[in-house]
């Protein structure tokens, strides 16, 4: 008999499962975002001669991509694979 899950555990299960298509997209997308932000902010902070701009923007972009790609939001769950019917 299945025990009723607590709130934290059911929230974890909900945010854990993600589509295969969106996993492939997320694997490439977070790297692209962080590399683009780091290159642009490095060049900008090289002109202004302040390294804080570069570090804070790289950390900010990483927090943004963690919030966007790590939990399985509803828009990452759209393309479910088509399972065969049970025989």
């Amino acid at each position: 008999m299945k025990r009723k899950d607590t709130l934290w555990k059911s929230a974890y299960i909900y945010f854990n499962e993600m589509d295969y298509e969106s996993q492939k997209f997320a694997r490439i997308a977070y790297k692209v975002i962080i590399i683009l932000v780091s290159i642009i902010s490095f060049i900008i902070s090289l002109f202004l001669q302040r390294f804080q701009i570069c570090v804070y923007s790289v950390i900010g972009s990483s927090i943004f991509s963690i919030l966007l790609f790590a939990p399985a939001w509803p828009w990452w769950k759209r393309k479910q694979p088509k399972w065969q019917p049970v025989k």
Binding site: Y12, M18, Y30, L46, Q49, Q52, V55
Partner: protein, 182 residues
């Protein structure tokens, strides 16, 4: 990418790798593109308080030393070293002479930290000290400072945010000590 913790772990480690490469690039663009060297100009105005100290209460009267104090002016152009990688500069004046053995003594030091705003670097990097007293008097245990030729060297110790701490000498000025104790 199959679970929450796996994705979180990958993103965090990737940001730390990019921060490490950016710091390395920071160090390379700051130091290895430097063409000019910093320079300094030191003039000694006078020697004051040139004594022979007889300390009878140390070591049965066998410990005696020479002591000298100076007044100097120092101008230094430190603009080439002021990059975005610099945290602090430690500037000190070293005295070297060839008495019974080669001896060195630090007589003045100063910490110069770099302000964050690049528009304030001009003021902070042009060092101009006028008619200053030294901080630590020049002491010689062998009492051989009379009539001695002595070189004053100005050194800089560079402390960056990312990289090794390096020392470099930016000026060398010879001087002759007076013949009589004053």
């Amino acid at each position: 990418m199959y679970s929450l913790t796996a994705r979180f772990n990958q993103i965090v480690f990737f940001t730390s790798c990019t921060l490490a490469t950016l710091s390395l690039l920071n160090q390379l663009t700051a130091w290895y593109l430097m063409n000019e060297q910093p320079s300094a100009n030191l003039t000694i105005h006078s020697t004051e308080k040139f004594h022979f100290i007889k300390a009878n209460h140390y070591n049965g009267g066998k410990t005696n030393w020479d002591q000298a104090s100076f007044r100097f002016s120092l101008e230094a152009d430190l603009k080439p070293v002021f990059t975005w990688n610099l945290k602090q500069l430690f500037l000190f004046i070293n005295v070297r002479y060839n008495a019974p053995q080669t001896s060195e003594c630090v007589i003045y030091d100063k910490i110069i930290s770099r302000p964050d705003d690049p528009s304030e670097w001009e003021k902070a990097s042009n060092l101009a000290l006028k008619n200053q007293r030294i901080e630590y008097p020049l002491k010689d245990s062998y009492a051989s400072l009379k009539n001695q030729t002595v070189t004053f060297e100005v050194w800089i110790e560079v402390m960056p945010y990312v990289g090794f701490i390096t020392k470099q000498r930016i000026g060398e000025f010879p001087y002759k000590m007076p013949e009589v104790y004053s």
